[in-house]
Symmetry: C2
Subunit: 233 residues, 2 copies
Amino acid sequence: MATEHIVSSYNDELVALAQAIAEMGGQVEVAIENGTKSLLKLDRELADVTIIADQRIDDMQRRIDDMAVSMIARRQPMASDLRAIVTAIHVASDLERVGDMAKQLARRSLKLEGMTLQPTFYNGVKNMTALVLRQIKDALDAYSNRDAAAAIEVCNRDDEVDAMHTSLFRELLTYMMEDPRNITACTHLLFCAKSLERIGDHATNIAERAYYLQTGKQLTSDDQDLLRTQIKI
Amino acid sequence: MATEHIVSSYNDELVALAQAIAEMGGQVEVAIENGTKSLLKLDRELADVTIIADQRIDDMQRRIDDMAVSMIARRQPMASDLRAIVTAIHVASDLERVGDMAKQLARRSLKLEGMTLQPTFYNGVKNMTALVLRQIKDALDAYSNRDAAAAIEVCNRDDEVDAMHTSLFRELLTYMMEDPRNITACTHLLFCAKSLERIGDHATNIAERAYYLQTGKQLTSDDQDLLRTQIKI
C-alpha cells in the first residue's frame, strides 16, 4: 500500500508539473496578445498590465524549476519521467523569455506614445503576431500532446516567420528612407518585429523539446532538413 | 572498494561536466571576439568562422544536456550535486544563445559589405563589446569559482551595459537622421548593439545561476535591488 501511495503521489506531481507548464503557457500567450495590442493601440494601461504580468511569469519559472529539482531529488526518476522533468525545465525557460519579449513589445509602445504612426506601418507587425502566436500555441500543444509530427511542423514553419520578418524589415526601412521623420518610430517597430521573430525561435525550441520528450532524441538542424526534404518529396 | 570506485568515477563525471562548461564558455568568448572583429573589419572569412563555430557550440550544448540527464538517471544525485547538474543545463543553454548572438553579429557583417561606414559609427559597438566580454568572463569565473559575491557584481553591472546600449541607440539614430544614406548600415549596427545587450543579459543569467549554485537560493530582482542598496549604503 505504501508503494501505491508513493506512486500515486509521484504521478500527481508529474501531472502538477505539466499543469504548471500549461498554465505558464496560457499566461505567456495572453502576454503576447496584450503586448501587441498595447503596441497597435498605444494603450498605456495594457502595456503596464503586460509589464507586470512578466514578473508573474518569471515567478512561475522559478516555481517550475524548484518543483522539477525537488522531484528529481526526492523521486529519483528514470527514463521517460526524467526526460519529462528536464524538458519542463527547458520549456519553462523558453516561456520565460517569451514573456520578456512580450514585455519589450509593451515597453516599445510606451516609447511610441505621441509619435505619428501611419496605420500601414502596423500591418506587418499584426500579421507577424498572428503567425508567432499560432507557433507558440502549436508548440505548446505538441508538447502537451507529446506529438512529434506536430513538433516537426512547427519547426519547419519557422522559415515563414523568418521570411515575414525579412520582408517587414525591408518595408520599414523604405518608410525611414522616404521621410526622416519616420526614423525613430520605425526603428522601434523594427525591434518589435525582431522580438516577434525571437518569439518564433522560442516556439521552435519548445517544439524541439516536445520532439525530444516523445522520441528521446534531440532534433538537430540536419534532422530537420532531412525531414523537410522527406515531407516535400 | 566498490563504493570508492563508484564515488571516484562519479566525481570524475562532475569534473568532466564542469570542464565541458568551461570549454564551451571558452569557445563562446572566442565567438564573441570573432563575431565583433568580423563586423569591425568587415572580414568575410572571420564571419564564416564564427557562423561555423556556432554549430559546434550547439553540439556542445546537446552533449552537456545528455551528460547531465544521464548523470541524473544513473547517479541519482542529491542536494548540491543535483544543483550543480541542473545549473550546468541552464548555463549551457545561456551559452548556446550567446553563440547565436555572436553568429548574428557575423551575419550582420556580411550584410554590411560594400556599405560606406564612418569609423565613428563603430566606437560604441567596440566599447560595448569590451564590456559584455568582461561580463561573460566574470560570470563564468563566478560560476566556476562558486563565488556568490562576484555573481552579484556581474548582475549589478548589467545596468552599465543597458546604459551604454541606450546611448548607442540614440547616437546611431542621429546618424540616420543626418543622412538617409546611413539608414541601412546604422539599422544593422542597431541590431548589433541589441545583440551585445542580450549577451549582457545572458551573462546576468549565468551569474544568477552561479549565485544559486553557491547559495541554493534563486536570485530575484528584489534581492538584487536589496543587495545593490546595501552595497551603495
